[in-house]
Amino acid sequence: MSTVVFVAGAGVITGIGNNVPGCVDALEQGKTGIDTIKYLQTNHRGQLPVAEVKLSNDELAAISGFSPSASRNVMLSMIAAKEALDNSGIKDIPDLRTGFVSATTVAGMDKTEKFFADFLPDHSKGKLRDLRYHECGNITAMVAEKLGIRHYMSTISTACSSSANAIMYGARLIKHNVLDAVIAGGTEALTKFTLNGFNTLMILDEQLCQPFDENRRGLNLGEGAGYLALVSERVAELLKANLYCALTGYCNVNDAYHQTASSPEGDGPYWAMSGALKMSGLQPADIGYINLHGTGTQNNDSSEGTAIKRLFHPRYPKLSSTKSFTGHTLGASAGIEAVFSALAVQRGLIYPNLHLQTPIKEFAFIPESGFSTDPELKNVLSNSVGFGGNCSSLIFSKL
C-alpha cells in the first residue's frame, strides 16, 4: 500500500466566486458572499441571509451543460468537478483508472420540493423527471458521465462532514491501488428543506454570522461545491508542474454524544485532529493554519474551540472560519474548505474570519481578522463536524 496522495487539481463554486480565482479574490478582499435571498423560492426571503451562488439556474445550466430544469445541486457539482479535473492535467495521461467520489446531504431536494407541491394534493400528479435528482447517487452518476468517468464512482453522506469523508475515501482508493486518480469532494444547493430544517432548530442567524465570536448567534446557510483532484505517487511524477500539495493526514471519528449536538469537551473534533496529526507524523506545532468548521453556532464553536485548546494550548496556529464568506454549505462544506486549505498551503494564504468583534472569552486564541500571506506555511488542518457525531479532519502539507 502506498502512503502518499497528492493534490493535483482543485475546483470550487460558492457564494463568493464561481471558480478558484474568483473565490481566492474574494477571500483576499474580505468580501462575504452572504446576502439576502435572491434565487431560492422561499417565504424566508428578506429574513434569513444565505450565501447563494450568484447565478440563476439558467446561467448555471449554460456553464454546466445541464438543462435549466436540472437540480442546482447537479449543476454546481459539475462546474466545480470539471474545474478540478481540467485543472489537474490528469485527462492528458492515457489509461488512468479515474474515479469520482462525491458527497451531498439532500441532493436534488430542490426538485423533489417542486414535485411534492403537485404530488401531495394528488398522488397522480407531479413530474417524475423532477425526482431523478432525489437520490444522492444519481447526482454523482450524472456528473461522472458528463466528466467521462466510468471506472469507479461513489457517494458519501455523513451530514456536514460528508465531503471530508469523500476525500478520505478517494485517497484510500488510491492507496489501495483501486484507482490512480480521483476527483473527490462534495456539492450542495440551497433548498427549502434545509433552510426550514435549520430554522426549526433555531440555529440560523438573521444577521451575518459571526463564527467564533463571543456573541455569535448562529449560522448562515450557503451553497456550492468543491472538489480536489487526488493522484497517486506515480501519476504525481508525471504531473510534477501541476501539484498543489500532499494530503498527509486524515481521520474520521464519531463523537457519539448526541444526534445534533457536539460534546462540550469537543471529543469528536479532538480525536479527529489528533488522528490526522498522528497519521501525518506531525506535531501540533507543525500546523500553521486551521480552517475551522466554525459554523457560528454556540454549540459548535464552543465544542471545536475546546478541542483546539486541548490539542494546541498554549501555542495556537493561525485559524479562521471561511464560513463567514461562504455560509455553511453542509455536504459541500468540507470539499470547499479542502480546496481553500490546499490553496492556502500551496500559496501561503491565511484567510480572515469575517465579522469577528469579540473573541470567545474562554479561549486564549483569536481567529485571524484580516487576510495575510505566510510563505513559511507548511501544514494546514481542515475540520468538519456533522449531525450524528460524524467528525473528520484533513491535513494538507507543502511539497
Binding site: F119, G137, H176, T200, V253, G388
Partner: protein
C-alpha cells in the same frame, strides 16, 4: 483484501431475524409490496430510544446490536452503512410539513433524523462507538461501497472488527412514486409466482442486514468475503461478461469454480435477460439461485443476498424455498452474487467457505 464474516443478521420480508433456523419456509405475499417481518424492538433497543426512531433506524439498530452480540463484540472499530434512499419516512414527514404548512414553524425532529447517516450515527450513539463511521449513498451499489470500505479498513488494520450493513425502506409515498415509474408489476402477482409471469416490472422490497467483519478467523465464522467489485452501465452483455471474467481471474478462479451463482433476477422480463444470457455465456454448468422472490427489489438487496449466501456456505446446503437448480457438489465452497439494479449499477460479491 479479505474478510471473515463473524456474524450476520437480517430483517427482511422473510422470517430471518431469528438465526436459529435458516429460511425454513417461505413467507408468501400477494401484490407488489413486500414489507419486513419485524421483531419486538423493545427486547433489543431501550423503549425510550426505540419510540423516537423511525422504522428504518429501528431495523438497522436491531440488526446491528444483534450482530455484535452474536459475534461477542461490545464495540467495533468501525461502523459503515450503505443506503440508497436513506431515511425516507422522516424525509417525507418533514418535506410534507414544509409544503403543507407553507414554511410555518415546524418541529425539527423529522429533519434531524432525515440525514442519510442517521442509522450509522444512532448505532454509534447506542453503543458509544467513537471510531470510524461512514455512510455510502451510491444508489444500487451503496452496500457494495460499504463492503469495499470495510475490506480496505481491514487491510489497513488487521486487528479491526468492522460492523457493515445495508438498508432501505419502503414508505407509502415511495411505493406510490416507484409504482408510477413503472418499476413494479401491475395486476395480480405473488412472490411465489414472480419468475413465472414473464412480464414487465418487479415487486418492491425492503430490509436491513448487518455483518461483523474481521481479518482474523474465529471459531464461528460463517464465510469469507473474497472480493467485491462494481461496474456502471455496461455497453452490452459482452462487457458485463468481461467484467465478471476479470473479477474471477483476479481471484485466480474461473466460472467453473463457482459452486453457486446467486443472481438478482427480479421477475422483470427485460431486467432478467442479462442473467439468462450470462448463465449461458459463463455459468452454463453452475447451479444458480434467486433471492428477490424472498426480499423483493430494492437498491441494497445485495445485503440480504450476502446474508443468505453466508448462511448457505455455513450450512453447506441450500434452502428448498430458493427454487435453485440442483447442486451436485458435496461442498459449497464458492458462491458468487451478481446483481444489477435497473441495468445501471452492477455488482459482484464473491464469498467462500472458511
Amino acid at each position: 483484501m479479505k474478510a471473515y464474516i463473524r456474524s450476520a443478521v437480517s430483517i427482511s420480508p422473510q422470517n430471518t431475524f431469528d438465526n436459529s433456523s435458516f429460511l425454513n419456509g417461505l413467507a408468501e405475499y400477494q401484490g407488489n409490496r413486500l414489507n419486513c417481518i419485524e421483531p419486538d424492538y423493545n427486547e433489543i433497543i431501550a423503549p425510550k430510544l426505540n419510540r423516537r426512531m423511525s422504522r428504518l433506524i429501528k431495523m438497522s439498530a436491531a440488526c446491528a446490536l444483534t450482530c455484535l452480540k452474536d459475534a461477542g463484540i461490545t464495540s467495533p472499530d468501525a461502523i459503515i452503512t450503505g443506503t440508497a434512499y436513506g431515511c425516507l419516512e422522516d424525509t417525507g414527514i418533514f418535506l410534507t410539513s414544509v409544503i403543507e404548512q407553507d414554511e410555518e414553524p415546524l418541529t425539527p425532529t423529522a429533519f434531524v433524523q432525515s440525514t442519510h447517516n442517521t442509522a450509522g450515527a444512532q448505532i454509534a450513539l447506542l453503543i458509544k462507538c467513537n471510531y470510524y463511521n461512514n455512510t455510502f449513498v451510491s444508489g444500487g451499489v451503496s452496500f457494495e461501497n460499504a463492503l469495499l470500505d470495510a475490506l480496505m479498513l481491514l487491510s489497513e488494520n488487521e486487528q479491526a472488527n468492522i460492523l457493515a450493513g445495508g438498508m432501505d425502506e419502503i414508505t407509502d409515498i415511495s411505493h406510490t412514486i416507484l409504482s408510477r415509474t413503472g418499476l413494479y408489476k401491475h395486476g395480480p402477482v405473488s412472490n411465489t409466482n414472480l419468475f413465472l409471469l414473464n412480464s414487465k416490472g418487479t415487486i418492491g422490497g425492503e430490509g436491513a442486514a448487518f455483518f461483523l467483519l474481521a481479518s482474523k478467523p474465529s471459531e464461528h465464522n460463517l464465510a469469507n468475503i473474497d472480493a467485491v467489485a462494481t461496474f456502471y452501465k455496461p455497453a452490452d452483455i459482452t462487457e458485463t461478461a468481461q467484467h465478471i471474467s476479470s473479477f474471477l481471474a483476479a481471484q485466480c478462479i474461473s466460472a467453473s469454480d463457482i459452486d453457486l451463482f446467486i443472481t438478482g433476477n427480479n421477475g422483470d422480463a427485460k431486467h432478467d435477460k442479462v442473467f439468462a444470457q450470462l448463465q449461458q455465456l459463463l455459468f452454463d454448468r453452475v447451479p444458480s439461485a434467486n433471492y428477490k422472490n424472498l426480499c423483493g427489489e430494492y437498491p441494497t438487496s445485495t445485503a440480504f443476498a450476502l446474508w443468505m449466501a453466508a448462511n448457505i456456505v455455513k450450512a453447506n446446503s441450500i434452502p428448498a424455498i430458493l427454487g435453485h437448480t440442483g447442486v451436485t457438489k458435496n461442498k459449497i465452497n464458492k458462491v458468487l452474487i451478481y446483481n444489477h439494479y435497473q441495468n445501471i449499477y452492477h455488482s459482484l460479491i464473491l464469498i467462500s467457505a472458511c
